[in-house]
Amino acid sequence: MPELTSTHLRFAFAQGLPLWQLILIGLLVAAYLGHQVWYLRRKAATWLVLVVTGLRLLGLALIVTYLTNPTILTQTLQRIPIPLAVLLDTSESMTLPAGSAGDMSRLQQGRDVLLKGNAQVLQRLAQDFDLRFYRVDEHARALTREELSQVAGDGRTTNLTQSLLDVQQEYRDTPLAGMVLLSDGIVTSGGSPADAMRHTGIPIVPIGLGDPEQYRDIQIAAVQAPDFAFVHTGVDLEVTVKSWGYKGQAIPLVLKQEGRILSTTSVRLEEEHVTRRVTFSMTPKEVGRYRLSVETPVQVGEALRANNRKDFQLLVRRDKIRVLIVSGRPSWNYRFLRRALKSDPSIEFISFIILRTPTDMVNVPEDQLSLIPFPTNRLFTEELDNFDLLIFDNFSYLPYFPMLYLENIRKFVADGGALAMFGGDQTFELGGYSNTPIEEILPVVLDRSGQGYVHGSVKMALTPQGLQHPITKVAADLEETKRIWEEMPALRGFNRARRPKPEAVTLGVALDGPYSDLPLLSIMQYGEGRTLAFLSDQIWRWNFELVGAKKGNYHYLNLMRQMVRWLVKDPGLQTVQLFADKGAYQPGDSVELGVRVLDHTFSPTADAQLNLMLQDPQGQPIRVNATPGTEPGEFIASFKADGEGAYRVEAEARQGEKRLGEDVLIFDVTPSTTELTDGAPEHESLRQLADKTGGRFFRPAEVSSDFASMLHAILKRDLQYRIIDERSLHLRHTLSGFLLLVALFGVEWFLRRRAGLA
């Protein structure tokens, strides 16, 4: 056991002389002695001259030496221990078993390394080093030695790079012998610690906790899914499976949608540690946000169970809005509608135009006509559900198909489809739709006066609902919307309807004249679907005549696109919109929910009643109260999400007895780290850290009683001392020094006298 204190003697000159003075004195003494030798050589024997001169030289040299105040120093020194940082990983992964399942935790293993055998290792280290203890996870935090045995593995992140840099920063002004890092090597955030520490000059000695050889686990490591998929279009989901310790086994993988099995497959694990990729294919049948999971059963001896399942979401959209247009005859209304829809890449349409009626006489054989059959049977009995929107543009069904197909159209709308009917002389009651299933779903009551189409100039004025509705609200500002509609050219004809239905919303009415206030544009919800009646075939004038007035066709294009989007219930045009303040949460976070409620006219509504239903990941309801926000139609709610998993929120808004709409939101509450998803010890990264910083990697079993001396050899630090006592002896102030000088000159004087020299 080395002593901490020691005594040392030193000889020193307390008062130095400048070199030039020493040289000058040396020259004078040499000249003097040279003269003495030359003078005495003739009077005495040579040996006597040399002895006398030698004694004179010694005497003079002693005097010159005394001028520099020669001193003997006696110092008592105490060795100063250099700080050595001992870092213990306290992230959550350290709570995993050190070896196979049932073993002590890695954290306990780390403690044992330091404290076993009455803390021999620490005691030995403490003799040479000033031990400083730290816990490391997201950052480094100092610990006392007593806290070392109590600290918990609760760090949600392992950022070794940041932690090591934290410690290095603390010793930027004082020497640090090195760092001893006790960790399983799992890094969940930050970069490579080896790269970060390689140029700091601080040797790091990692002690790798856990045993990679004994680790057993199966992990659904990742699911690669696109951000969104298209309905009715196949999508591939690539699943990455990692395994440790199940060589030769085949494990099943299951793809589920909210607990319902969609697909299964199996993976054979050929090696002890293997990464396999498996692809699931699925074809979404509906639009919406899919809550999916990939799972594999828990195997015997697995270190982690939670990582046998991976949840993810898949947003399924329409690839295109599919529109079927049936036009009663070629017309400018069709032409400009076609151009508007064609210019929107999200819309795909098929159109059928009646180019020849049964009464038109053809003067060429059929093979010289480009006409194709109108596949009414296929369209209205088989294919209708493949479309999102059906547009009847001045089209009468009477010559082409039976009323039975109209019933199919009614069902199509009731089930969520959409119908738009544009005016003209062959539609509404002029098209024979009175008392048909189509009249039932139209937003207007058809006129039966026989004056179905009115020729004449009429402007459309927006109703208060029209000013707010996304179809007709062509500008962000209401006044601007009003101004734009006032500038819209007059229509030169329209279909007369008796009145809008009570459940319909009329967006535009005839502005003046004898038909003032008759509906021109009305909409309605029917079943799950929507319908629209545009009671004119002159809408194209809002495009081309406005271009002629040098005002562009933007508002017409916007009107048509918004009309299509509203009819197909584009998510951006929902009446109830539910949103959360963040996309993902951690357990314990406060979740702020917001709901925006518009009435059926798309106006913010102050008297809506909101029912907010919240389910925790186990499907249990959570009580949440929504309170009105600062704006009309706004509601806010908040709750604390304690448990991990997927939370489901449903908002349903009503206005009196009338249901305004609903929205659903699903969000995840997950720990922010992957500490407990991939628990395999990463000793290789610790080895790299040791190699790049000049340290050495140790296994726990290699840490023995001579660890301290091994550490000395590794760290190669010079010992540092502090002087705790110092004494000095000035020779010129001693009697023996004086007597020596007198003796030298006395003997010389005596010899001179004996030889009769002066």
Partner: protein, 256 residues
Amino acid sequence: MSPITRRQFIWRLGLGGLGVRAWTRARAASPDEPSTPFMFTQVRYSGGDWDPHPGAHVELLKEVQRRTSIEVSSQRFTPMLTDPDLFSHPFLYLSGALDFAPFSAEAIATLRRFLNFGGFILIDDASGYRGSPFDRRIREEVKRIFPEHPLERLPSDHAVFRSYYLVRAVTGRRLVSPSLEGVTIDEWTPLVYSQNDLGGAWERDHLGKWVQECLPGGESQRFQAFMLGVNIIMYALTENYKKDKIHIPFINRKLG
């Protein structure tokens, strides 16, 4: 019935007049009256002869009405290019046989906007021979309207040749050019140019006789000119409808 005063009589007379006015502004259609009939709009211009075949449209429109579902107006609208009502009629017909005064810059800008935003124009050289003064003038004016888009021959599978009839021959009163030319922008051809005097082939006199003979093909050539005329109007109203995928296999089968 109680007697009325003179003042009441005058008031009622005035209200009655307003009622008549309202009726003329907005009136209910008879069951057979089309809501938006196709209006043949022929461009008037200065210099030259803007109307070499004044009756050409009559017979063409009859043919359109008789053979297709398009409802036509018997009236012809003849605006100048600067007419404020020009954009109420997206189909224009411009004909002539002689040189004419270059269009004003305003007319050129208007026509460019008209064609770029969905309008259509059929230009018909009525001279009956290649390199006519009208032809030279038209080519210069088209360059002014579309400096970036030259007149080009329309391919035989262009939608204008299959919009109603399957037209295999480009004819007119004369066979000056075996093809139509046009300016095509983004798959739509807003300007179609014929050098074969289509109007000459369509025109009858008041007694019902053809005004001019079609050479060299005679009546069959005239018949083809009518088919092409019907197709051009159909193309203006339906754009590339016949290029939609659903039509292609049917048409290809018929074309063999």
